[in-house]
């Protein structure tokens, strides 16, 4: 079987309306893919930046995949939350990105968005906080988002190293 190593980190987040952010991440792959070693989901630390408008997470990722086919190429999914001084978490953004399909080092900026909700929900959110969330979080990495209204949020910064093994044996060109 061909193998893929994903080695890198979720560096941090920027461009969100306020700080004190953390991120839940997960990796999704098709049925032909098997995780041999490494965590396939996790949650980062909460960072309150002192000077910069950049939440530092430095969250390591080290996953070893084995695969029988290219369908269902793995993708990373993110949920960024804001944590206030009372420890309450508010959703700040969803986002996903595919793993790069070439070996080497990659710097990735993953854009995020959040559900906007109805006008009434937006007014309520302005005064009392709390953000609408997706009932089905799988929507983040699926193409069925018809009739969902969203707004743009910040970016998640990733630094990933991709290592392939034995792709040449199966004639795969990357």
């Amino acid at each position: 079987m061909a193998e893929v190593h994903v080695i890198g980190q979720i560096v941090g987040g920027s461009g969100f309306p306020s700080h004190s952010l953390f991120c839940k991440w997960g990796i999704h792959a098709g049925g032909a893919w098997k995780v041999i070693a490494g965590a396939r989901e996790g949650q980062t630390q909460v960072d309150l930046p002192q000077n910069d408008a950049f939440a530092a997470w430095s969250h390591p990722i080290d996953i070893h995949f084995a695969t029988k086919g290219l369908q269902g190429w793995p993708k990373l999914k993110f949920e960024v939350y804001h944590q206030d001084e009372f420890g309450r978490n508010e959703l700040y953004g969803y986002g996903f990105c595919h793993l790069p399909t070439s070996p080497g080092m990659h710097n990735i900026e993953c854009v995020t968005w959040r559900p906007a909700g109805t006008a009434r929900e937006q007014i309520a959110q302005f005064f009392i906080g709390g953000a609408p969330q997706l009932r089905n979080p799988d929507m983040v990495h699926s193409a069925e988002r018809y009739a969902l209204s969203t707004t743009a949020m910040g970016k998640v910064h990733l630094q990933l190293g991709i290592i392939f093994r034995n792709f040449d044996r199966y004639g795969v060109e990357c």
């Binding site: 190593h5 080695i7 890198g8 980190q9 560096v11 941090g12 953390f22 041999i36 070693a37 490494g38 965590a39 996790g42 949650q43 980062t44 630390q45 909460v46 960072d47 309150l48 930046p49 002192q50 000077n51 910069d52 950049f54 939440a55 530092a56 430095s58 969250h59 390591p60 990722i61 080290d62 070893h64 944590q83 070439s102 070996p103 080497g104 080092m105 630094q159 190293g161 991709i162 290592i163 392939f164 093994r165 034995n166 792709f167 040449d168 044996r169 060109e173 990357c174």
Partner: protein, 226 residues
């Protein structure tokens, strides 16, 4: 040279170049490498402590450590790829060392020169009571085990404050990665690995044997180069 290697080598050189910590002075760095169970250091230092540096008296307010990193790793499996864990310490008014930042980064997987800017952060007190006692005793919270910053488990319970950056330069060279079938750069995909060439030669029909032999020859040519 063994024709069928079972390990690959990662030779790493580089330096902890400089840092940016506007609020502090008189800082030194500690570094160590954290890696998986399949990894072994064959030469070089696993950890080190730098000199104490004052920040530059100009607009940059820069800390320059210029501290060398030279280490060679050996492994059979890229999983558990080494990470550089850096912690910065300063002295408080009573002369005790206080942590000013922790940071971690993976050693680059691809050969070549790489620069990394590490955001540095310190843990925050987990409760108001601890915040008060740490203020009373003027002791900052620290990680008991520095290497938690290189692990992904249990991070959700930590709250940190990021302050400052460190710049690190790496020069990486790998050996025998391709022979074990690993591609770390797009340019090596065209060359069949040792195993692949053998498998191609063994499984291909007699008509294709010529092509496989040619492929094998390319690998051999490649082996002589390495």
């Amino acid at each position: 040279m063994a024709s069928n290697p079972t390990v690959f080598l990662l030779m790493l050189s580089g330096q902890i170049e400089s840092g940016d910590f506007p609020e502090f002075d008189d800082l030194y760095v500690k570094y160590n490498f954290v890696f998986g169970p399949d990894w072994v250091i064959t030469s070089g230092l696993e950890e080190g402590i730098s000199q104490v540096c004052k920040k530059s008296q100009d607009g940059r307010q820069l800390f320059v450590w210029n501290f060398p990193l030279e280490v060679t790793f050996k492994s059979t499996n890229p999983h558990g790829w080494p990470q550089l864990v850096v912690s910065v310490y300063g002295l408080d008014f009573s002369g005790t060392a206080v942590v000013r930042g922790y940071g971690a980064v993976h050693v680059p997987i691809a050969p070549g020169r790489h620069q990394r800017i590490l955001p540095m952060f310190v843990p925050e007190s987990s409760s108001r009571f601890q915040k008060f006692t740490s203020w009373l005793l003027s002791r900052r919270p620290e990680f008991v085990d520095v290497n938690v910053v290189a692990r992904s488990e249990g991070r959700e319970v930590t709250r940190v404050r990021s302050q400052g950056h460190i710049k690190v330069t790496f020069n990486a060279i790998t050996r025998d990665m391709k022979k074990l079938g690993y591609d770390v750069t797009p340019s090596t995909i065209k060359i069949p690995g040792a195993d692949t060439a053998a498998a191609l030669a063994a499984t291909s029909a007699p008509a294709a044997a010529g092509a496989a032999a040619a492929a094998k020859q390319t690998t051999e040519a490649n082996e002589t180069v390495t």
